[in-house]
Symmetry: D3
Subunit: 135 residues, 6 copies
C-alpha cells in the first residue's frame, strides 16, 4: 500500500553556468548562452515526490500542509528571487545546472524527512527542459 | 517490447476529510480546511497507465476505446458529480483522501484488466497536488 | 499606454445548482448531474484582470502584491474549501453557477479597486468550461 | 473577415526592478523581492497577436513563418539569456517590469508590421502573472 | 450583466495547404512543409465562446450541455479523424488554413444559435499557433 | 548521482491505422475512426529522457544542445509535416500506432547515444493519450 504523494512548488531565480577552472572560451563553448556573464533566469517549477505507506488513521502518506511548509521555508525562501551564483551559499562554488539544483534540493529536503519516506525531485528549468533525481 | 499506455479522464466531486473515530478538535487539527462539515470539491484528473506487450497484429497494447469505456463506466459514472462521502458506497466509511481514492480506483480497474497487463493510477486532486498508486 | 495586468488564483469548493422556485423534476431536467442534492465540486481557477495606465515611476499598473492579497482575503478565504450553497452568504439564495460566481467575485473586487482601474474576471469551473465577466 | 493570428514564443532572462531616482528603502518597499540587487529571472512566454483580413489567395492573414522569424530575430535574440538591465539597450534606464517589457516588444514588432495589421502583445512573467498591451 | 461562456472541444484531422490556381513551385514557396502532397495533421483544440445575458431563473447564459452537443454533432463528428481536404465538403475547394477552419466553424455554429447570443471561435492548430474569429 | 534529463520536442503528422493482412471490415472494427482511408493527424509531443551520471566538470548529464539537435535532425525532420504511412520509410509497412512510433523513435535515438546513458521515450498522441517506452 505504498503511495506516492507529489506536491508542486516554484521559485524564480537568475543563474549563470560557469566553471571557474576553465578559460572564457571553453566556458562559452560548453555552456553557450547560459554562460552570459550577467546571468539569465528561469521560473523553476519543482515537483517533490514522497513515497510511503498510507496511515490507516489519516488515509494519508504524510501531512501535505507540513510538506508544503517544508518546501516553502527550505527551498522557496532560500532560492526565490535570488541570483543563485551570487546570493546563495549552495551555488557559490557549485555550478547551478538543473541537475545540480535538483540534487541540492533533494539533500536539503531529505534531511528533514522521516526515514520511512522515499524522496524524489523533479525540477523544470523551462517547460521544455527538466530533470529528475534520483533517476 | 513492453510499452505503457496512458489514458486521461476526469470527474468532478465533493468530499470531506474526516475520521469518525476522532473528536471534532482532532479532525480539525489533522485535516484543517478539508474537514469543513459541508465538504468542498475538486476537478479530479485521472491518469490510468496500463503496461503490456505490444500485439504485433494491432501494434497496440490494448484497445484504447475499450479502456476509455471501462474508465467511463466504472470510475466516471460512479464518482462524477457526486459527494464522495455521502453518495458512494466506496467512501461511506473510508476517508476520501487522494491516496485512498487512487487505491480504490486501482482496485476497481484491476478487477477488469487481463492478468498480462500491469496497472498504475495517478490522480490529481488539484494541479498542484497529486498521488500515484502503486508508487 | 493602458496595460492589462492579470493575476491567477484558485479555490476549491463544492456547490449544487438548484432553483428552489422549481420542483425536483424541473431542477433535474435543467441542471442535470449538477443538481445532485449533496453537491459536487471543482478546482476553480480565477484570473483577475486589471486595466490601467502604467505609472511612470514604478513601471507598473498597480502593486501586484496588493492585488494578490486582495484576492486572497476577499475571494480565496471566503470561498476556498467551502460548500458555496451552505457555507457562504453570497450563495445562500443565489444559484452558484459559474456565471453568478464570476459576477459576485467581480462585485467584491470592484468595491476595493480605485476608479481609474477597469476590472475583468475569468473563472474556470473546469479546464474545459469557463466564463468571463464583463463579456 | 478579420481574423486574429497568435504565435507563441519565449525567452529566459534575468531582471531587477529598480528606480534609481529612489533610495534603497523606497525601492525595497515598492518592489520587494524583485529589487534583489543581483537580480532574479523568469521564463518569459510571449504571445504575439496580429489582426487583419484573410488573404483569399492564401487563406491566411500573414505568413506565419515570417512572423516567427521576426519574433526570433527581433525579440528572442535580443532578450534571450540576457540580464535585461545590464545586457540590453532597451532596459538600461527603463525599469524592466512586465508592463514595460510588453510595451517595448510591441514597439519593436510594430515597426516591422504592415499598417493593415493590428498588433497585440501578451507577456507571461510567470504562469500566474501576465500582462497585455494594448489593453 | 452580459457574460461570456466558453466551452472547449477538440478534433484530430489531417490537412494540406494548397492553392490549385498556383503551380507547384508557388505552392511550396508560400505554404512550405504544409504543402506536403500527402498532408500532415493536428490535434485541433477549439474554444467556442458564447456571450449573452444571464437568465435570472437558471443563472446561466445558455444550457452548456446543449452547447456541448451542438459542438459534438456539428463540428467534432464532421471533422474528427478526417482528412479535411479529401473527406469534407467544406474544404474540398477551400484551403484548410486555421483561419478558414475557424470561419467555417463559426458559420456552422452561428446558424444554430439564437440571435440574442454573440459567438466567437478560437482554434488552436498547435499549442503555439492559434487563431480567433471574429477578431 | 544518476540524474534523468528530459527534453521536449514535437512534430505534426498525419497517419492511418491499418493492417493490410486484414480485410476492410476487420480493420474498421479494430481501428475505428483511426482507419479512415485518407488518414487523420496529430500534434505529437515527444519527451526524450536520458539518464546518466552528472559530469563533475560540467554539472550536466549531457550537452542538452547536442540532444536537442539530435532530436531535430533524427526525429523532427524525419516525421514533421509528413503522412507517416505514405511519406516515411519507417511506417511504410509498420502500423503507425503511438506504441510503434515510440519504439521506432527510441531505436533511432538509441543508436546515437553513448552506452553510458539510458534512454526512455514518452510520446503524446493527444493531450489525453500517451505512451512510454520502455515501460
Amino acid at each position: 500500500m505504498r503511495v506516492a504523494v507529489i506536491r508542486k512548488a516554484h521559485f524564480n531565480a537568475a543563474h549563470r553556468l560557469h566553471n571557474p577552472a576553465w578559460d572564457e572560451a571553453r566556458n562559452r563553448e560548453v555552456f553557450g548562452l547560459c554562460n552570459n556573464p550577467n546571468g539569465h533566469g528561469h521560473n523553476y517549477e519543482l515537483e517533490v515526490k514522497v513515497v510511503g505507506e498510507v496511515d490507516p488513521e489519516t488515509g494519508m502518506v504524510l501531512d501535505l500542509g507540513w510538506l508544503a511548509n517544508l518546501i516553502r521555508y527550505e527551498v522557496e525562501q532560500r532560492f526565490d528571487h535570488k541570483h543563485l551564483n551570487l546570493d546563495t551559499e549552495e551555488f557559490r562554488t557549485l555550478n547551478p545546472t538543473a541537475e545540480n539544483i535538483a540534487i541540492v534540493i533533494w539533500r536539503i529536503l531529505r534531511a528533514h524527512l522521516p526515514e520511512r519516506l522515499d524522496l524524489y525531485v523533479r525540477l523544470y528549468e523551462t517547460p521544455r527542459n527538466f530533470v529528475e533525481y534520483p533517476a
